[in-house]
Subunit: 355 residues, 2 copies
Amino acid sequence: MTRPTLADVAAEAGVSVSTASLAFSGAGPIASATRDRVLAAAARLSYAGPNPLGQQLRSGRSGIVGVVVGDRLRRSFRDPVSTQMLDGLAQALSEQNLGLLLVPSEAGEVPPLVQHTAMDAAVVVLANGPDDDVVLALTRRGIPVVSIEGEIGDDPRRPGAATTNVGIDDRGGTALLVRELLGLGHRRFGVVALPYGHDRRLGAPDVDGEVSARYAHTRRRLAGIADAGVVPEVVVETPASLVEHGRSAGHQILSRPDPPTAVVALSDLLASGVVLAARELGLRVPEDVSVAGFDGIDLPWLAPDVLTTVHQPLADKGRLAGEAAVELAAGRPVDEVVLPVDLQPGTTTGPPPRR
Amino acid sequence: MTRPTLADVAAEAGVSVSTASLAFSGAGPIASATRDRVLAAAARLSYAGPNPLGQQLRSGRSGIVGVVVGDRLRRSFRDPVSTQMLDGLAQALSEQNLGLLLVPSEAGEVPPLVQHTAMDAAVVVLANGPDDDVVLALTRRGIPVVSIEGEIGDDPRRPGAATTNVGIDDRGGTALLVRELLGLGHRRFGVVALPYGHDRRLGAPDVDGEVSARYAHTRRRLAGIADAGVVPEVVVETPASLVEHGRSAGHQILSRPDPPTAVVALSDLLASGVVLAARELGLRVPEDVSVAGFDGIDLPWLAPDVLTTVHQPLADKGRLAGEAAVELAAGRPVDEVVLPVDLQPGTTTGPPPRR
DNA sequence: CGCGCGGATCGAATCGATTCGACCCCGTGG
DNA sequence: CCACGGGGTCGAATCGATTCGATCCGCGCG
C-alpha cells in the first residue's frame, strides 16, 4: 500500500540499491542491460523516480529559492511593476531548474515559512535595510539573501552572511526626469511619493522623506529630485503604488490654490492616477499641468495619453536577482548590481502654462 | 566551518541527540533546566534550529504545495483574475504554514519541477481535462491534485489518484447575463471568447467552441449562452484575456456592417477592451452598443463607465482550492466545489438602439 | 526498608537516497 | 600462463532529524 522505494525496485530487479540508484541518476558506469532491467522493475511497481526528499537530505540542497514579497501579496500582485519583475525572476530560476517559493510577508512580521522552510537562497523584495527582521532571520539560518529595491548592508549581527543587492539607478532616474521638466520651463513642482516605510503614519505630507524614508527606493528617488536642484512645493505620501491613491493625491495637489505646474509621481500607477484626477478636475494634460511617472510600464487604458516616465528594465532586474541567488547558493560571492534607467518621453509633459 | 547539527548541539550541551531534539520540538517530557541548557548551547554554536531537510525526510512531508499556472507566468500575472485567486490561495496555505511553490508551465510541456520537486499536493490552474500531461505526471507521482477552472475526471491511467475540482458556475453565469440582455430587448449578439485551448489555430472565428473548446471554462461559458437560447452572430476567439485582445476583437465585431447590438465578452479584461474599441469607433456605450463581461474585477480606469458583469468570488475560489489541497494531502477525500456567481449590473448595458 | 511508579534521558532504528571504496570477473598484453 | 587493468556491481557509511522502547533515578507508599 505504501509507495515503493528504491530498495523495493532494486529487490524486484534483483540488483543492489546502489546499482538501482545508478540506473536513475546515470552517474557512474552501468551496463545498459542492467539499467533496462531496473527501469522495467520500476515500471512494474509504478515507481515514479527517486523521492526528492531523500535526494535533498543527501545533497543538502532543496532546489528551492524563497521569494519574500513585502507587504500584502494582494498588492504585489496588483502592481505590474512587481509582476513583471517576478516574471523575470521565475524565468531565471526555472532555467536552472530551481523552484520559486512565494512567501507573503506582512510588514513587521517574520513569516513562519521564512524560519522553517528549506531553501537554498532567498530573494527579498523591498528589504527595509540592514535591520530588516526577515533578512536577519534568513542570514541567521545561513541562507544567502538577494535584496531587490532595498539595500542590505553589513551588519555585525550576521558576520560572513552571503548577501547582495540588485537595483536600479533610482536617484539618477528622477534627476533625469526633473531636469527634463526644468528644461521645459517648469519651476514649481508637486510630488506624489511612494510609501516611506514608516509605521503607518500615513497621509502626513513630509518633505523630509528624502532623508528619512525607510524604503530605500523611495528615499533614493526623492534624493534624485533634490539632486536636480528642486524643492517641491508639496509632497504627498501614498499608502501604496495604486491608481486610486495616485488619483486622490492628484486631487489633493491639483485642487490647491495656484497648484504646481508639474507633478512628478514616483511610480507610473500613481502618475496615471494623477492624470485621471486632472481629467476629472477639467485640467488639460499637458497644457495645464504636466505629469510624469517612473517605471515605464504599459498603460494601454490611459489612451490617448502616453505617460512621460523613466523606464527601468523590470524583467532584467528579476532575472539578475535570480541569477544572483543561484550564484550565492553555490557559494560564490556576487557584486551589487545597479541597472541603468532611461527617460521615456510621452505626451503628458510639455511647457508650463503661461500666466 | 560547516553548519552545526543537532548532534553538535547535543554534544555541546552534554545531552543525547534525542533529548536535544525534544528541547526543540517540545514533543515529549523534558526538564526545563535541560531544555535551557540545550538552547543555550544552540545559541553558543549559533544553531538556528533543526534542519528542515532532515525533518522532511523523517516525516515524509515537504510542507509545500505546488501551484501550476498554465500558460506563461507573465500572462497569469497580468491578469487580475489569476492574481486575486492566487492571493486567496496563498492566504489559505500560509494559514496552514504551507509553502506555495510557483510552477510556470508552457502549454503542452511538463516542467521539470513538476517531475522532480517535492510537494505534498498541487493546484493546477486551467487543467485541460483528464488527459492533461501535468496532472498525469503529478498523479503518477502520487501527488494529490486540485484543479481550478478546469476539470479532472477519472482516468484509467491513474487509478485511485486523489483529485478534485474547484470552480464556479460558469455556465449559469453567462446564461444569467444573456437573459438579462434578452430582457433589455437585445436579439443580435456578438461574443468575444477566451482561448479555446486548441493548439494555436487562433483568430479563426468558430461558433463551435461551445462543444469543442478544450479549456473547460471557455466551453462552459459558451454553453451558458446557448442555454439562454442565443446563437451569436459572430464569435471571436482571443489568444488571451488581455485588454488589447479585447480591443482588437471589439474592432473586428463593431466595424462589421450592421453590427450586433450587444457584445458579451467572456472576461472583464476582454470586455473593457471592447468598450475602448467602441469609444474609438465613436460608438456610445450603452446607447449604441451594450457590452458585458465576466469576472467582476475592479476596473477603476474604465471610468466613467462601470462594466455590467457576472461576479465570481475569486479569492474564495483560491482559498477553497488551498483548503482542498490541504485535505487531500492529509489523505482525506474532498468533494468537488462549484461556487455561485451573481449578476453585477453596471452602466455599459441598456436597451438596444431603435432602428 | 523495599517495591513500584512515573518523569527524564538515552540508544538505536528509521526515513530514502547517494557515493566511496572494495571486490569480482574477464579480457588483453607481456 | 600470469599479471594487470578496467568495467560493472555491491556493501556500508552518510546526510539530519524524529521516535519508540528501554533504562535509570528518585520519591512515595505500603
